[in-house]
């Protein structure tokens, strides 16, 4: 029990220190409004990436359509915020719930049939679904004019600020951590390691796979809803399959089956993308994409099992429970072709 107490304290201390640090930096003008935007974006991306971490990192379902759910959340919440909300805080909360629920509902409808597919085939089916959603967004204005279609949707109220996003960021981390170390989480990881064995042990694999998928997509929807209320402009290109690859990169580079890995990589990734702009300067800005790609390749060549290799930072470990991740030499077995 003593350990649990210390851990909670550590967590609270970390949160308070981080919050104080950010506020101080803003106060002294070190953190310009541009970097605040990047910080908020990094936390939003983290929430979405945590969703994919549940789906792929912990349950082993190769999904390449994560950005579609991010987009569904963003568009749902954005439409509510723009038409009824107008910056009202109550409507903002309703929009967040609606965005997450919409993503979850679509995930349930699409997940029930396609989650029967395995590895690469599931990846391609979800990728195809992502492209279908993108086409839907491009043409959405023909059915609902407010959604803007291919030209994008503007005039959204900017309700979400650093505090709100930070709050949801923490809540998402806590939620996912507690889920992963619960009975459900153990069912998820058992499906990742060996679906047939899990089934033989009496785990209702269909139910748990769908549950992981729906929950993960709901988190993507929540991230999208926050995004819609942080940036005044939504465009279908922000939610296409290339964006899905971003989430995949984060989860894999962080290390499958590691929440700390997902969180650290998501934040690092957002700052890397923007940081490169400053490091390179005006003259070499064209090289940004090249260097980004090189960093990607070199990182994965050096750490094929991900930066964290299924390990967790101290405070991400649950109180009293051992981590369910198998600490073998190979790391978790989730992946293609298994």
């Amino acid at each position: 029990m003593k350990q649990k107490y210390n851990q909670t304290l550590l967590l609270i201390a970390a949160v308070v220190i981080f919050y104080a640090l950010v506020k101080t930096l803003i106060y002294f003008g070190v953190l310009s409004s541009y970097w605040q935007l990047v910080l908020d974006q990094s936390m939003i991306v983290t929430i979405g990436a945590l969703g994919l971490s549940i789906i792929y990192g912990f349950t082993g379902q190769f999904s390449l359509g994560h950005a579609a759910f991010y987009g569904i959340g963003a568009y749902t919440a954005g439409a509510i915020g723009k038409t009824i909300g107008h910056g009202d805080i109550l409507w903002f909360i309703i929009a967040l719930i609606a965005g997450s629920l919409a993503a979850a509902l679509v995930a349930l409808l699409i997940g029930l049939p396609i989650l029967r597919l395995r590895s690469d085939y599931l990846g391609i089916a979800t990728l195809g679904f992502g492209i279908i959603v993108k086409v839907g967004m491009d043409n959405a204005n023909k059915v609902i004019p407010v959604l803007g279609g291919a030209t994008g949707m503007s005039g959204l109220p900017r309700v979400a600020n650093f505090e709100i996003i930070f709050l949801f960021f923490l809540a998402a981390i806590l939620l996912v951590r507690n889920l992963i170390y619960s009975k459900y989480g153990r069912a998820f990881t058992s499906i990742r390691e060996d679906e047939i064995a899990a089934d033989a042990m009496g785990i209702d694999t269909t139910r748990y796979k769908t549950m992981a998928f729906v929950l993960g997509c709901a988190l993507a929807g929540l991230a999208g809803s926050l995004y819609a209320h942080r940036y005044p402009f939504l465009h279908p290109a922000s939610f296409d399959f290339l964006k899905s690859f971003d989430f995949l990169l984060i989860v894999v580079l962080g290390g499958l089956g590691s929440l700390s890995g997902t969180i650290v990589t998501a934040i690092g990734w957002a700052f890397l993308l923007e940081g490169l702009r400053f490091v390179l300067g005006e003259q070499f800005i064209d090289f940004r994409g090249v260097i980004y790609a090189l960093i990607l390749v070199v990182t994965i060549l050096m750490r094929p099992q991900g930066l964290f290799n299924g390990k967790e930072l101290l405070f991400m470990k649950p109180p009293r429970l051992k981590t369910p991740v198998i600490k073998g030499e190979e790391g978790p077995h989730a992946g293609l072709g298994n």
């Binding site: 190769f62 049939p113 396609i114 029967r116 597919l117 395995r118 690469d120 085939y121 990846g123 391609i124 089916a125 990728l127 195809g128 679904f129 492209i131 279908i132 993108k134 086409v135 839907g136 491009d138 043409n139 047939i196 064995a197 033989a200 399959f241 690859f245 995949l248 990169l249 894999v252 580079l253 499958l256 064209d286 090289f287 940004r288 994409g289 090249v290 980004y292 790609a293 090189l294 990607l296 390749v297 994965i300 060549l301 094929p304 099992q305 190979e330 790391g331 077995h333 989730a334 992946g335 293609l336 072709g337 298994n338």
Partner: protein, 294 residues
């Protein structure tokens, strides 16, 4: 009716084009079980090299095609050596991320000013387009050229796979890496050969694409690459006739949707069909369902 026939011919042209790219995907997948996301970008490099060949360096079209194929064969082998070989025994997903990284690298590197530049280039057709009337159907010489080239290459690939030693080695490696090595097959060189052939096919596809749809740019590989890959999955990935069948279906679906429904919906319908097919046949149209090992 003539309009429909004309569209079907257009669909065939597009389908054959996809088939060339899909062949490379499916061969590589068959041998190393890796989705080579950089394949679409090899196709782009092929298109550019071919374009420079016939418009800048004054090569005749067949020479330009061969040059592009040679350059891309080397490129494919180099990519495999640098980015995929070190990860051969790592988790599959690591190689996939590395492939994505290579794809991004090729795209951004090629759009640098001193390489190909970021802009769209309009390709001056090296051959005059001629339309022929065949029993009420209009066929252009470019369409005929595309189809003939593609069929020729398909036959070559089939011949190579089933009548040559390299082909036999490829089929062996595809079945079982370790057993192939035990039987004295040099797995590394077989994989290199697969990448070389697959990339050369993509390059040929790229040059034909540049001639048939005369506009090229560094990011042109993404969509055709994705479509071709989808075609390979649709037909059953790892199976050569499956790739061609899938590609022809994709070509028809896309062209007919664009012609008779709406050009904006064509991607949605093409991928919708993919999902439906996968639900009925989870391993593609010609794919065999493997029994689950416990």
């Amino acid at each position: 009716m003539e309009h429909v026939m004309g569209q079907i011919i257009n669909g065939l042209q597009l389908g054959f084009m996809y088939a060339l790219i899909a062949l490379g995907y499916t061969m590589v997948y068959g041998v190393v079980k890796l989705i080579n996301f950089a394949h679409g970008d090899v196709f782009m490099v092929g298109a550019f090299v071919g374009y420079f060949g016939f418009s800048q360096w004054g090569m005749p079209v067949p020479v330009a095609v061969l040059t592009a194929m040679a350059v891309c064969a080397v490129l494919g082998v180099v990519i495999e050596k640098i980015a995929y070989r070190p990860l051969r025994y790592a988790p599959k997903i690591a190689a996939l991320i590395s492939a994505l990284g290579m794809s991004l690298f090729l795209e951004y590197f090629c759009s640098l000013k001193f390489v190909f530049g970021p802009n769209y280039r309009v390709v001056q057709r090296p051959i005059e387009e001629v339309h022929w009337q065949l029993g009420g159907i209009t066929v252009s010489n470019i369409q005929v050229m595309v189809m003939v080239t593609v069929i020729l290459m398909l036959l070559l690939v089939q011949y190579m796979l089933f009548k040559t030693k390299t082909g036999m080695a490829m089929r062996t490696v595809s079945l079982d890496h370790d057993a192939a090595r035990l039987m004295g097959v040099n797995v590394d060189s077989v994989i290199s050969a697969t990448f070389a052939i697959g990339s050369a096919l993509a390059a040929a596809g790229g040059v034909l694409y540049a001639i048939a749809y005369p506009q090229i740019h560094p990011f042109m590989g993404i969509m055709p690459g994705l479509k071709a890959f989808t075609a390979a999955v649709l037909g059953g990935i790892g199976i050569v006739p499956g790739a061609v069948l899938g590609a022809l279906i994709m070509g028809q679906v896309e062209t007919l949707t664009a012609a008779f429904l709406s050009s904006q919906l064509r991607d949605a319908i093409a991928f919708g069909i993919l999902i439906l097919v996968l639900l009925v046949r989870p391993c593609g149209i010609l794919g065999k369902t493997e029994t689950e090992k416990v």
